[in-house]
Symmetry: C2
């Protein structure tokens, strides 16, 4: 069996190798992804984001259990662009492996590496395509941060879920965080805490300001993930947006916008790696970086020197 057919038949080791290849850069991924791409489009891709501390991991785990009970196969990608020194994903992964990880029909992977060339967003979206092609019914992408990269990753999902908690709403920061505008479904997790009604009103008020181009009115679901409460409502809300997408032209526009974004991501990475792979570029970079650090040159002049033939 070839590597690709092993992947398409859902073998975990082949899937893991493929994801490592896309993590290593767009060049090593290109051949693989060309073969993978025509086999995608069957999975429902669910993006889940929200502030740290909102309980996203628990929610994702419970949602995965919910789908498992229906006999579905679940892929989970946890995007964790953190840990320059020590690799912070490890603790969380160990805890998860103890619960979901022993189930053959669940594949969990943390994506944390981001090299010099960027490419975490590109690698994550590639990994989602790999799990889709490998026959998982649902692919859940969970982000840890709430930065621009994470927002873009979640926007490439079929359904974007934003997780909030009561008590966050009294801070302007939460409003500014921009995640309000990407949600197709909102979750108030830890909804056994005080302040749920207020939070809900605030979300509704912000949604009224947002003016979605597709006229969808995002449902607000209350959950207590740790007690498995509200998970079925969340699944229903996700399904209702999927239904809306299917009956709506917005789906085509969205897919094209995502495709354009992916093209630019891959292009940018490829252009830089082509340049860096030229003989001597890396040494030149180090030299120029030292000159800039000593204020003997500025970054813009240095870039022009690098681009000279």
């Amino acid at each position: 069996m070839t590597e690709i057919s092993q992947l398409l038949s859902g073998q975990p080791r082949a899937i893991a190798r493929a994801i490592s290849a896309v993590e290593n850069g767009s060049e090593s991924a290109a051949g693989l992804m060309k073969a993978v791409f025509s086999n995608t489009g069957k999975a429902l891709v669910i993006g889940i984001t929200g502030a740290p501390g909102a309980g996203k991991s628990s929610l994702v785990d419970k949602l995965a259990f919910h789908y498992r009970e229906k006999g579905e196969r679940i892929g989970i990608i946890a995007v964790d662009p953190s840990s320059p020194f020590s690799g912070g994903a490890i603790l969380g992964d160990r805890i998860r492996m103890a619960t979901l990880g022993l189930d053959k029909n669940v594949f969990i992977r943390s994506m944390a590496t981001r090299g010099n060339l960027g490419g975490l967003s590109r690698a994550t979206v590639d990994a989602v395509a790999i799990l889709d092609a490998a026959g998982f019914d649902k692919v859940i992408v969970e982000t840890v941060g709430v930065g621009q990269d994470e927002v873009e990753i979640v926007k490439t999902a079929d359904v974007s879920v934003v997780v909030l908690v009561p008590g966050m709403g009294d801070d302007i920061q939460a409003i500014k965080a921009g995640i309000m505008e990407i949600g197709d479904v909102f979750v108030i997790n830890k909804s056994d805490r005080e302040g749920v009604v207020r939070m809900q009103k605030e979300i509704e008020a912000l949604l009224n300001l947002a003016h979605r181009p597709d006229m969808w009115n995002p449902p607000i679901v209350k959950t207590v993930a740790t007690e498995n409460k509200g998970i079925e409502d969340l699944a229903t809300a996700i399904e209702s947006y999927r239904g809306f997408l299917k009956s709506n032209d917005a789906s085509t526009v969205r897919r094209q916008a995502i495709a354009r974004w992916r093209l630019l991501e891959i292009l940018q990475e490829r252009l830089l790696s082509d340049l860096l792979n030229r003989n001597g570029t890396n040494e030149k970079l180090d030299l120029l970086a030292a000159e800039i650090a000593e204020k003997k040159s500025d970054p813009y002049s240095a870039v022009e020197k690098l681009l000279e033939k």
Copy 2:
């Protein structure tokens, strides 16, 4: 007076125009930044990050007031990579303008735009250099998100401050968020709440795991920003790290790493914009994006087509 000399003499309109230029792309920024760069290096650049809801804005405002009382001039860049639809920075800006914004010696700017080419990190670091050259004594960069871009921006500061709040610590997410490892100074804000001792112990435990290459032991400062408590301690902690940096080789290594990162950011943006500026590339992109959306092509093959001469 030329545009550059107006900028260097600290005229707000010239500064605002310069920042708009760097927001518009690396090409329009290049000439300007070459002139600006040799005038940088005097300001202390303070990066402030933390989860949404941690009270970063209040803390930044109070810290700015503190420096103002010493007669210093303060530049503030609020990085807000949010708001694809409606521009979420507006509300926060209005509130701030009502307090700090009337002071001529304080310059506040939100950076929210991020075009097709990325470049928010590059534009932010350029804006910091502009404020530095314009003679501000302190330049504070505050990020709203806690994603990869934000972490990278804060890492380019002279001193990185991470703001946490009591009660966040019981969630693994907070640990995974990766911001633990970039802090030179930690702040427990809202320290009149319950759970401060626990939070402090957790930060200390995590710092023990982190093994900083430069052997600095990050101080943990307790603040209640809204009541102006602990702000002087924060300023002292920032100053102590500045002193450490000066007496330490780490400063050179750090400056070179930052310079290398900036070079790659500018390079990547320039390479992509050079390609997109070629005749017909944009139309080709749209066409290929449509093909990918319809699964007639895959993104990697499409990129190869775009790179063909």
